[in-house]
């Protein structure tokens, strides 16, 4: 059977599974809709949270990102996992003890203010909406690149599927679907990785293979990779100073704090029965995430090594050291058709040269070789994962699985985000602020309607992505780090922080981070309106992607200063903090 038919069957089967789960796990109450009735086993919750967390970007793009960054790609690996330590130690158990439905609800109660709750809702909506656009786009791209179907059709099918299980089942339906999606995703990611590790290093585990010698040779994979990357002018892979120590430090820390402050992830720890479960569940979540995140750097290094050595077949600079255009493997031809790979024979020698033509030294050397520029003119990072099964010459059903896995990754994250958005609208805005007397039944209906509306908005924006789609991830993490995380942490760890302090802190963190990103990316991301240029205009040399930690520090500082100047926290709120800190009052 051909690849397209097989992929369609694989995707079809997974969709049937999701719908079956949806029918079995309908939500009957607001508690089931918002937090799955608080009855999810910590291991099951860990698996669902891992699927929720790992987006289309983690599945399809992260390995490619690391492959091009080399060592400094570790910023993403450490940042996106290290955040779970912060969440487990500083937030999850206490918020579980608080025992309500949403993140803004805690902020509103702890800071005894609907204004604080409203500010938290604004932060949540900005973070989750920017994030969900990318997921809907991911569904469409997975359909078009792998299944050769129009993006619009893929997106519409994806919207209908999410609508069925998220609207019917709320958190309950989403959680059980995400468990299935996790299994599909991890299988689709690791199977090709294992085969590539076996072929390249003779090792079953990609994590060990990355540190092993090449099969049948004494040279370590990473040494061979360092050498060829150095020879082609890219700099060594294992210590490539891609972003500089200072900005790698800031970016890692910002991603960690931002991860810990993402409301759609935090809310997952409201779904387990006990506080002890919330603590453990964060650990299980990280194990399930690490299964993919420790394989990703191996996929990255092995894919870029395979790609480079496929093109650079002999010594750099020797006349027949490069792949000739007539001998291109079939998978290269196939991915050329999608536009993710493009070649151009600039010097007309019938062979492909891939090297760093931005590096002056390399350019000088290349001229001596008779090279006229890098001929791999488009090398999309997503290819590292998408073409993996074909590079490893695996049967077509593995490639079909990757299609289903990519779509599972995008759908599971989209569903989690949509739930965070709709709970915030129905529970925080409607019940909490505008219609406090709404009946539970009407609230459940409102939650379902707002879910449906959120899906339509996300789908529309996925189809017509604002020009800034690629940059919003930095914004989402920056905002989560600078607004919600500090407010939540101070709410638990300091009784002194009062209403005024928390609101001022959140606003200062939110606004400074947005302004800093706009300064370089354009006001509201409108092209051509950026007053400062990158990277020479960076204030104190700070990359906008790494600004979240600065925003968080400003938030903490503002909250302390303002709280010190205004009325102290009322006694009953101090009691609430005491209560949140202790799992159960003593008998």
């Amino acid at each position: 059977m051909d690849l397209q038919t097989l992929s369609l069957i694989a995707v079809g089967i997974t969709f049937a599974i999701y719908i079956a789960i949806a029918i079995l796990s309908r939500a009957g109450s607001t508690e089931e809709f918002y937090v799955a009735g608080g009855g999810i086993h910590p291991v099951a919750n860990g698996m669902a949270t891992a699927a929720d967390w790992m987006s289309a970007a983690s599945f399809i793009s992260m390995a490619g990102l690391i492959a091009f960054l080399g060592y400094t790609g570790g910023a993403y690996l450490m940042g996106w996992t290290g955040g779970y330590v912060l969440m487990a130690l500083l937030l999850a158990p206490y918020l579980r003890k608080f025992g309500k439905f949403t993140v803004p609800e805690f902020i509103g109660d702890r800071f005894y203010s609907t204004t604080a709750r409203g500010v938290a809702v604004i932060c949540l909506l900005m973070i989750s909406l920017t994030y969900v656009i990318g997921q809907m786009r991911g569904v469409g791209i997975a359909f078009s690149n792998i299944l050769n179907l129009p993006i619009t059709l893929g997106l519409l099918v994806g919207m209908v599927i999410v609508a069925i299980y998220a609207v019917m089942g709320g958190m309950k339906g989403i959680t059980y679907t995400q468990i299935a999606q996790y299994v599909i995703m991890i299988f689709a990611y690791t199977v090709p990785a294992i085969f590539i590790a076996l072929q390249l290093t003779g090792n079953v585990f990609p994590q060990i293979g990355l540190g092993s010698t090449l099969a049948g040779q004494d040279t370590y994979l990473l040494v061979a990779l360092d050498n060829i990357m150095q020879d082609l002018g890219f700099g060594t892979y294992t210590d490539r100073p891609g972003m500089g120590t200072y900005n790698m430090f800031l970016l890692t820390l910002s991603l960690m704090i931002g991860t810990a402050g993402l409301p759609h992830v935090i809310v997952r720890f409201f779904t387990v029965p006990k506080i002890a479960d919330a603590r453990k569940s964060a650990g299980y979540t990280l194990i399930f995430i690490a299964l993919l995140y420790t394989v990703a750097p191996a996929v990255a290094a092995m894919a870029i090594y395979n790609m480079t050595t496929t093109i650079q077949t002999g010594p750099v600079g020797s006349p027949d050291g490069n792949l000739s255009f007539d001998e291109k493997p079939a998978w290269m031809e196939r991915w050329e058709a999608t536009g993710l790979l493009q070649f151009e024979d600039k010097n007309g020698d019938g062979r492909i040269q891939y090297y760093n033509d931005q590096n002056p030294e390399m350019v000088a050397q290349a001229e001596e070789f008779g090279w006229a520029g890098n001929e791999l003119t488009r090398f999309d990072r997503d290819i590292m994962v998408l073409a993996n099964p074909e590079i490893a010459q695996l049967p077509n059903w593995v490639a079909a699985l990757v299609a289903a896995g990519g779509i599972a990754a995008a759908l599971s994250t989209a569903a989690g985000l949509l739930l965070a958005i709709s709970s915030s609208v129905s529970h925080d805005l409607l019940k909490g602020i505008f219609m406090p007397n709404i009946s539970p039944k009407a609230e459940l209906l409102a939650a379902r309607v707002s879910m449906l509306v959120a899906i339509m908005i996300a789908g529309y924006l996925g189809l017509n992505p604002p020009g800034f789609a690629a940059q919003v991830v930095a914004l989402a993490f920056g905002l989560a780090a600078s607004s919600l995380f500090p407010a939540l942490m101070m709410g638990i760890f300091s009784k002194r922080i009062n209403k005024e302090g928390a609101i001022a802190g959140m606003l200062v963190g939110l606004i400074t981070t947005m302004i800093y990103i706009f300064l370089y990316k354009g006001w509201f991301f409108i092209p051509g309106t950026a007053p400062l240029s990158e990277p020479d205009g960076w204030i104190l040399g700070i990359n906008p992607s790494g600004f979240g930690v600065i925003g968080a520090i400003l938030n903490f500082a503002t909250a302390y200063v303002v709280s010190g100047m205004t009325k102290p926290t009322p006694a009953e709120i101090q009691d609430l903090v005491e209560n949140v800190r202790i799992p159960r009052a003593q008998a």
Partner: protein, 87 residues
């Protein structure tokens, strides 16, 4: 009542006493070994991995998992000691 609120204070300071060392290790393996000291550590090899590179792309993640389970185990023990566990 006095005895109880003293217990509450004691429980909280023991809790902080568990969190802080965990966060110190968290920072050392990632921001320290993975970034600041990575160039130094790269002189040492772990199999085919330069050590700093290994921390940045593998080791820090493994340590994070151990940290969360260690924290969870210590906290659950503390809850039982102060009789504040959920049973």
């Amino acid at each position: 009542m006095n005895a109880q609120s003293k217990d509450v204070g004691e429980y909280w300071s023991r809790n902080i006493g568990i969190i802080v060392p965990c966060l110190v290790v968290w920072a050392i393996v990632s921001l320290g070994a993975g970034i600041l000291f990575a160039p130094l550590l790269n002189a040492v090899n772990l199999g085919g991995y330069p050590l700093g590179f290994w921390f940045a792309q593998q080791g820090a993640i493994y340590t994070f998992i151990v940290l969360i389970f260690y924290y969870s185990w210590r906290m659950n023990k503390l809850d039982r000691e102060f009789d504040v566990d959920e049973g």
